[in-house]
Symmetry: C2
Subunit: 317 residues, 2 copies
């Protein structure tokens, strides 16, 4: 989340008349995230997050919004999108597709312990199980096709050793049998900043899972790998054994891993690392312009990929 | 909310398999309320409220659940009902119709000030406005028909002076032209214990409006009167001028009162008082049995009715 497109208050106040959320009290840009423009919106009746979709095809947006509605409706702590007076989730603001969602309470935990990772593992499995009954289907927008295209784009900017790493990884991933893995709607970006924690009674509790705008249909295990690479990595990129075990065991308790998933685990950790190395390298070498734009360091995921490719512990179950 | 029907943990754990909310961690009866059996349910993935509907016709329940879903979907802090794996909100547990809803955070404020009343007034107007686009219609279950029937039931238990008060009020209410008032889906029970406050940033904020199981189609002003009689009454039953003005002005800012509503205001305050005097008197003289049952004092609303019938200030707008 960043702000690429500013929204003047009077324009938002007018736009909100199409919703039943009361009148505008406060508007504030959000500096986190890398893809869309996001704002905290406070009205006389509640607190919301406004997203202006930047460069995402409008036709693809209902998939995300209805997925969030589906998961919220099935009891998961996901921000429900808000329908306007025409009963639609998707509107238009500042010539961009725009949506308002519930603002969930809680704050990100950037230094999670095993207790956090346990909750995240259970929640991820819960999202996957609830996603099985979601009727719409849209491919993972950062899946294999995107990886090839982005690798070609990024490759010329890389030094020789990174080009070699990239070529070897693409060749390896082409040999992986992803079709044998259980698939469904995945979040695909369940990083620490996309989970809000509510610690009101002293124990960590997930108050919200946010930012579903990279979601898509793909192997569930790819989502687990994305999550483990972020939540369980030490500063040297190696996996922390306690946190990794806590996350994977809690996931397994809700949705047991299959034999095919056990076999594919090392490859999925590498695929997940590759995906974020590529997107960060692309954003780094070809940055976008905006009012508040966050560019993340690509080297973190280059190092994670290198280390995962050198060998990882098996799925400990 | 009370507990009339106990639910053993293993039975609930099994029932939850039909939902995508994870596995049961804790079950706890709720002692508040007067109508249904209610429980706090904590699972591996979230916190919920379970309601077993006691003596309410099953056919009438979708009206309440879909109203809550409608309001939540339009951005109001109302507990969304949770769909099971068959995509239905209404299930069956312990031979009772049963529903699971999101547990919202926050706590009731039993000693509200003008700042709380202002938020409640705005929220009530917001509920009324959002309710205008709700497609289902079901009469207020505690409307005029119920009042006549309950008055007949309760009258024999009352002393002579209260019988006279009741007879006079029924005659007066029969003369009121309620048809001229704007109508729609009303909460009809927005007492202090049905609003949850989240004070996380120091200013009172409504985190949840709960218990829609007395909702129905009726005059919006009747709902305002129910709310004012509870939130703005002093211990001597008189209306506190500051709190009353704060609530009504905030309501008016979201949905302006009509001339017909201005004329009907004193009568609506009396109708709202009568409704709760009658239900409490009926519960008091003919109590139900259960594990935890709350019986409220009917005299509070007898006194409120007496005082409102003696004259009230006009709608101050």
């Amino acid at each position: 989340m960043s702000v690429f497109t500013p929204v003047p208050e009077p324009i938002l106040a007018d736009w909100l008349k199409d919703y039943a959320v009361g009148r505008l009290v406060e508007l504030k840009g959000i500096s986190a995230g890398v893809q869309n423009s996001n704002f905290f919106v406070t009205t006389t009746l509640g607190r919301y997050v406004l997203t202006l979709f930047e460069g995402m095809p409008r036709a693809e947006l209902p998939y995300y919004l209805h997925l969030m509605a589906h998961l919220a409706r099935h009891g998961l702590p996901v921000p429900g999108p808000i329908a306007n007076r025409h009963n639609e989730y998707l509107g238009t603001l500042q010539e961009r597709p725009a949506a308002l969602v519930v603002r969930l309470s809680g704050a990100s935990e950037m230094n999670p312990g095993a207790a956090h990772c346990e909750k995240v593992g259970a929640m991820l499995a819960g999202l996957h199980l609830a996603g099985q009954s979601y009727g719409r289907r849209q491919e993972n927008p950062r899946g294999t096709g995107w990886r090839s295209a982005t690798a070609a784009l990024v490759r010329p900017f890389l030094p020789a050793d990174e080009q070699a790493l990239l070529d070897a990884e693409l060749a390896f991933q082409a040999s992986v049998d992803i079709e044998s893995l259980p698939a469904g709607a995945i979040h695909a970006d369940l990083f620490r900043d996309n989970v809000l924690w509510d610690n009101d009674d002293g124990t960590p509790r997930i108050g919200g899972v946010i930012d579903f705008y990279f979601a898509g249909y793909d192997a569930l295990l790819f989502d687990v790998a994305v999550t483990v690479n972020d939540w369980c990595a030490q500063p040297d990129a190696a996996l922390d054994p306690q946190r990794t075990a806590a996350l994977l065991e809690a996931y397994h308790a809700e949705r047991p891993f299959t034999d095919a998933e056990r076999a594919a685990w090392p490859a999925m950790l590498r695929a997940a690392a590759l995906r974020f190395w590529l997107s960060r390298a692309a954003d780094f070498h070809q940055p976008r312009t905006g009012e508040m734009v966050l560019v993340k360091n690509p080297n973190e995921y280059r190092d994670i990929l290198r280390l995962r490719a050198a060998g990882v512990p098996p799925l400990p179950l």
